[in-house]
Symmetry: C2
Subunit: 303 residues, 2 copies
Amino acid sequence: MLDLCLLGTGGMMPLPNRWLTSLLCKYNGSSVLIDCGEGTQIAIREKGLTFKPIDVICITHFHGDHISGLPGVLLAMANSERTEPLIIIGPRGVQRVVGHLRIVAPELPFEIRYLEITGDGAHFEMYGYSIDAFRLDHGMPCYGYTISVKRAGKFDVKAAEENNIPLKFWNRLQKGETVKEGGRTFTPDMVLGPERKGLKVTYATDSRPVKSISENAKNADLFICEGMYGEKSDVNNAVRYKHMTFEEAGTLAKEADAKELWLTHYSPALMRPDMYEADVQKIFPNAHVCRDGRDKTLYFEED
Amino acid sequence: MLDLCLLGTGGMMPLPNRWLTSLLCKYNGSSVLIDCGEGTQIAIREKGLTFKPIDVICITHFHGDHISGLPGVLLAMANSERTEPLIIIGPRGVQRVVGHLRIVAPELPFEIRYLEITGDGAHFEMYGYSIDAFRLDHGMPCYGYTISVKRAGKFDVKAAEENNIPLKFWNRLQKGETVKEGGRTFTPDMVLGPERKGLKVTYATDSRPVKSISENAKNADLFICEGMYGEKSDVNNAVRYKHMTFEEAGTLAKEADAKELWLTHYSPALMRPDMYEADVQKIFPNAHVCRDGRDKTLYFEED
């Protein structure tokens, strides 16, 4: 299962009672944080979540509302006595930008490894996650992220027995390891059925509604998308400032055939985003205008 | 009158329901902000205060909990359409540190002027404020600040008439201007009585309790002092980490003969600082263990 928490739903600036947009994913003891604006460390504490298991931080782009809170989160991780390396993924230049921000957090008890994305995107495999970064259309280089968890095929006891595989190796083969013994090689495909449907969440902010988003969110279990403007008539501002209206986000969710849409990253001027939920549901019925701290656990399908 | 608001009372890290320690002073349409940790911009909004009149920001030192929120406040000031220059006062290196943090706020519609303090302290006069920075004893160069508002002498109508000063100049002379007309020079001392008692607030965090604090807080109308630890027995930690216990702060207030003491900058581990209020009041009766957003207006004495 994959636990998700949308820590905040604000865009541009943090407000009383509205943290900036950020997503925390938890799977198998490892957490991935996407975006880290001012106050994210407080939002994490408010939800009772922990800093130590954060193995990866993905940054969409270098506007303050998506990265200013990073020094605070790094210091909080240091206070949690983390010593394992941390991976930071972001657009080209992320090491330089984080380096500047670390003027107030120069000493940390863990190493930071940087993965810089260029061009249209990148694919990473780490801590049981598949992470796909894809290019968005904002005022500066900006990437959305799809976080997937794969699920191996079902263990086929009959096949294991027919192949005379010793019982002691079954567990390792199920985990995907190849095992050698006495001149024989046992591979996972000897005992595992076809790969089963995994879990997929796609996070896209800040951007105009471009095709890469619906392509990357294709069949996602959850699609989290920016909606800077609730009013349809604000589309001119959305074009000008490279953001989206709720309805544009809803159309992307429909094109992607996602299971569920969560809207986030509201303009500070949008005091009652929930007022526009019905409008977007006309386009994509399973759309939710989220509030801070919304969480959901995605489960693997029953066999 | 001088309006004061203690925006937050936390130390080290912001917590849900406890912003980091920061003070906003308002006088005659001009605001001075002291310290600016992560979340200060939200605390300012929560109190319904405004960004545009902030003419001066004083930074005590470069630990993250005192400066990380600066980019957010600068962006909020930009959004308030401020174009007048901003003065930032801080220890030597403040321009370099703020320069690094501004990687996420590179373009602002106003100029920033830096005043760097070295040695034991510095004195500044600006926007009707007298600002005295004085050296504290922390793990890095750190300064406390005394903010004073002077009050001119009472206008002496009889003296103005005896000196044959035209009525049209009275207002300017009262404001401290010197006026020349037809070969004659009129000076404020011709019409003003002796300077009257002004208003004074002293802010000291982070530090061990050193003599410069009580000297600088001498007879202050309000003395705002760090109290990292409520328990008297935590004095060893206070010595080790260069902070104070509540009782040490109370002793400073007593030595300074201040009118009132506000405690702030509590350790994140100190969940109920109010439990120690009675202890510090035994040393200094008019001591208050503050909560976020405490405000007070200091008035000039009646004549």
